[in-house]
C-alpha cells in the first residue's frame, strides 16, 4: 500500500522548471532513494513535501490525505520528519535541547501550565525526556548529551539531525544527503542506522543521496531525476544501468 504519493507535482522559479510533472509512489516500509546530478530538483522535492515551497501544480498525498495545502508547521504532526543537506540544527543549544525541540509536535500542555511550570507540565516534560533518551540510546549519543551543537564535530551533528527527526516519531522520514561530508566509516554507520530505522522502527524513508554505494546498500527502489524530470525508476540495479541515467551522469550519446 502506498504511504505517500506525488501526483504530477511541478514548481517553477521564474522561467526555470525546477520540478516538472513528477509522479511517484512510496510504499509503506520501504527505503526510496532519489538520485540525480546537481540541480536535478532532488532537494526541491523535499522542500515541496515539507511544504517550505508550494507546488505550482500537482498534488501531494500522505496516508490518503491531500497535504498540498497544509501549513509547513503542521507537517511534523502528521508524521513527516526531515533532515537538511547542510545541517540546520539549533547551534547554540545543547544536543538534549535539540532533540527535545523535535518533540514539539507532541507538546499539548497549555501556556499557563508552562509559564507556572505546573505539575502537568513537569510530568509531560519527563515523558518527553524518556522518549528523547530512547533516541539517544538508539543512536549512541550519550556522551554528547549536554554539549552545545556548535562544539560538536560534523559527523556527530549529522547523527544528531537524524536523532532530532526520529524524536518526531515519524511515519515518513526524509533524509537529505545523509552521507554528505561523512568519511567512509561514518557512511557505513549511517547505512546501518537507516537499515535499523526501517526494520526496527518501521519508518518509511525517502532519501536523497549521491553516494551510490550507500544507495544500493539500503534502497528498495530508486528514482533518477534530471532537469526536474523522472528519467528512471526501479530497483537500484535497474536504475544504475539505465541508459538515460548513464547519459545524465557521464554524458555522450545513448
Amino acid at each position: 500500500m502506498s504511504l505517500f504519493a506525488a501526483r504530477d507535482i511541478a514548481i517553477q522559479f521564474g522561467g526555470i522548471k525546477a520540478v516538472d510533472a513528477v509522479t511517484f509512489d512510496v510504499n509503506e516500509g520501504e527505503v526510496f532513494s532519489i538520485i540525480g546530478p546537481n540541480g536535478a530538483g532532488k532537494t526541491t522535492i523535499f522542500n515541496l513535501i515539507s511544504r517550505i515551497y508550494s507546488p505550482t501544480s500537482g498534488e501531494l498525498i500522505f496516508k490518503d490525505q491531500n497535504i498540498t495545502k497544509v501549513p509547513p508547521h503542521d507537517i511534523a504532526a502528521l508524521g513527516i520528519a526531515r533532515t537538511f543537506q547542510n545541517i540546520e540544527l539549533f547551534a547554540q543549544a545543547t544536543l538534549l535541547q535539540n532533540l527535545l525541540i523535535g518533540r514539539h509536535c507532541h507538546v499539548n500542555t497549555g501556556l499557563l501550565s508552562q509559564l507556572c511550570f505546573m505539575p502537568s507540565n513537569r510530568k509531560a516534560e519527563l515523558e518527553h525526556r524518556e522518549k528523547v533518551e530512547d533516541v539517544i540510546a538508539f543512536l549512541d549519543l550519550q556522551r554528547y548529551r549536554d554539549t552545545l551543537i556548535a562544539n560538536l564535530p560534523y559527523g556527530v551533528r549529522k547523527v544528531v539531525e537524524l536523532g532530532r527527526a526520529l524524536c518526531i516519531e515519524p511515519k515518513l522520514l526524509l533524509l537529505d544527503e545523509p552521507s554528505s561530508g561523512l568519511n567512509v566509516e561514518e557512511t557505513e554507520g549511517m547505512a546501518f542506522w537507516i537499515e535499523d530505522i526501517k526494520k526496527d522502527l518501521g519508518i518509511t524513508v525517502i532519501m536523497v543521496e549521491h553516494d551510490m554505494k550507500l544507495v544500493s546498500a539500503v534502497s528498495d527502489r530508486v528514482m533518477a531525476l534530471n532537469y526536474g524530470r523522472v528519467i528512471a525508476l526501479g530497483t537500484p540495479g535497474e536504475v544504475q544501468t539505465h541508459p538515460e541515467v548513464v547519459r545524465a551522469y557521464i554524458g555522450g550519446e545513448a
Binding site: S50, I52, I101, G102, H104, T109, Q114, L115, F117
Partner: protein
C-alpha cells in the same frame, strides 16, 4: 573541580541547577532584603532603579537574546506600562489591579507590533521597531487629555492592602519582589516547550518550522511576554520617578535597554541583571568623576550617550558574550587552573546574526 553528578531527569528541569546554587541565591536574596536597613536612602533608591531596569532587561532578553528578534522600541513598552498604571491610579483604581493591567496593556501593544512585523528580521525589524517607539513617544506627547502632554503629572502613591508603598524603601522592596517573580517566570519559560521553541526560531527558522513550530504564533507569544514584562517594569518606573512626562521615554531609553542585554551578555538571564547594573551605575560613576576630568570633557553635552555608544561598540567587537560571558570564562579559568588553554576561550558565533537566507 566541581562536577555535578546527575542521577535523575528532574535535575535538568529543576528551578536551580544544584544544591550549591540554592544556598548562594538564598544568601543573595537575604542580603538584598536587609540592604535598606544598613545603606543610605540614595543607594537604596539607585538599587531600586537597577531592579526596574533589570526587569525590563529580562523582558528584552527573552525577545532578542532567546528568540533572536531585535527591538529598538522597548522604551515604548516601558512608557505604555507606566502610563497605564499611573493614569488608572489617578482615576482611583487600586494598585494591585493597575500593576497587572499595565503588563497586559503593554503585552497587547507588543502583539500589535509583533503581528505586522512577523516576516521581518534583522535590519528591517530594527527599523520597524524604532518607528514604533517614536510613534508611541509622540502619542504620549500629543494625547494631552490622558497623559497631560509635556506638563506631565505626579504619580499617586500606591497602597497594597491599605499599606502605602512610600519612599525609596517601598519602591525597592516592590521592585525586588517583581524582579524575583519575573525571573521565576522566565526560568519556567526557558525550561518549557515555549522557551525551546524560541531558541529554535533564533537558531534556524526553517528547521524550527519543520519541527512543527508555528513561527507566527511563537514570535507573537514572544513579543507579548517580552513587552508584558517590560510593562510591569514601566509601572514600577512611574513610582520610581514619581512624576511622568513623555520625554522620559525617548529613543535613548530604548538604546539603554539594548545596551543592557548586549553588555550584560546575550542569551542569558544573568546577562540582563549584569547589564542593568552596568547601565544604571555608569551615570553615577560619570557624575562622581565629572568635575575631575581634564579639558572640560565633563561639561560636554552628550557625554553620557556617547559613552554608552562607545562601550556598546567595544563590547560587540571584543566581548560579544558580554559581562556574563566574561564571568563564565573567569570561572572556567580558575576551575581548570593550571590546565587552562587559550583555545578553550576561542570566540564563538553570536546570537544576533545579520541577514541570512532562512
Amino acid at each position: 573541580m566541581h562536577q555535578s553528578l546527575k542521577t535523575s531527569y528532574t535535575q535538568d528541569i529543576s528551578l536551580l541547577a544544584h544544591r550549591g546554587s540554592v544556598l548562594w541565591y538564598g544568601f543573595l536574596v537575604a542580603v538584598l532584603l536587609v540592604i535598606p536597613g544598613v545603606m543610605g536612602e540614595f543607594y537604596v533608591n539607585e538599587l531600586g532603579g537597577v531592579y526596574i531596569f533589570a526587569i525590563a532587561g529580562v523582558g528584552l532578553m527573552l525577545l532578542t537574546g532567546y528568540t533572536g528578534l531585535v527591538n529598538l522600541g522597548q522604551g515604548a513598552f516601558l512608557g505604555i506600562g507606566a502610563y497605564t498604571n499611573s493614569v488608572l491610579m489617578t482615576k482611583g483604581v487600586p494598585f494591585v489591579i493597575t500593576l497587572p493591567l499595565s503588563g497586559v496593556a503593554a503585552a497587547l501593544a507588543g502583539v500589535a507590533l509583533g503581528v505586522p512585523t512577523l516576516r521581518m528580521t534583522g535590519f528591517y525589524l530594527a527599523i520597524a521597531t524604532l518607528a514604533f517607539g517614536s510613534i508611541v513617544g509622540t502619542i504620549f506627547q500629543k494625547w494631552t487629555s490622558v497623559t497631560g502632554g509635556f506638563d506631565g503629572f505626579a504619580v499617586p502613591t500606591p497602597t497594597i492592602l491599605g499599606y502605602p508603598i512610600e519612599g525609596a524603601n517601598g519602591v525597592y522592596y516592590l521592585s525586588l519582589f517583581v524582579l524575583i517573580f519575573v525571573l521565576w517566570l522566565s526560568v519556567n519559560i526557558l525550561r518549557s516547550p515555549i522557551g525551546r521553541a524560541m531558541v529554535a526560531i533564533r537558531d534556524s527558522e526553517v528547521s524550527a518550522q519543520s519541527m512543527g513550530i508555528n513561527l507566527s504564533l511563537y514570535k507573537t507569544i514572544s513579543f507579548a511576554i517580552s513587552s508584558g514584562i517590560t510593562g510591569l517594569a514601566g509601572a514600577l518606573f512611574g513610582h520610581y520617578v514619581r512624576f511622568l512626562a513623555p520625554d522620559s521615554f525617548d529613543i535613548l531609553l530604548s538604546i539603554q535597554f539594548v545596551t543592557i542585554i548586549f553588555v550584560g551578555g546575550l542569551g542569558s538571564l544573568h546577562g540582563a541583571i549584569f547589564g542593568a547594573m552596568f547601565v544604571r551605575l555608569l551615570p553615577q560613576v560619570i557624575a562622581i568623576v565629572r568635575d575631575d576630568l581634564p579639558f572640560g570633557i565633563g561639561r560636554m553635552p552628550g557625554l553620557e550617550p556617547s559613552l554608552f555608544g562607545l562601550i556598546l561598540v567595544l563590547v560587540i567587537l571584543f566581548e560579544p558574550a558580554g559581562i556574563y560571558g566574561r564571568w563564565l570564562k573567569l570561572k572556567a579559568y580558575f576551575r581548570n587552573f593550571p590546565l587552562h588553554r587559550r583555545s578553550s576561550m576561542r570566540r564563538q558565533k553570536v546570537y544576533a546574526r545579520s541577514e541570512r537566507l532562512r
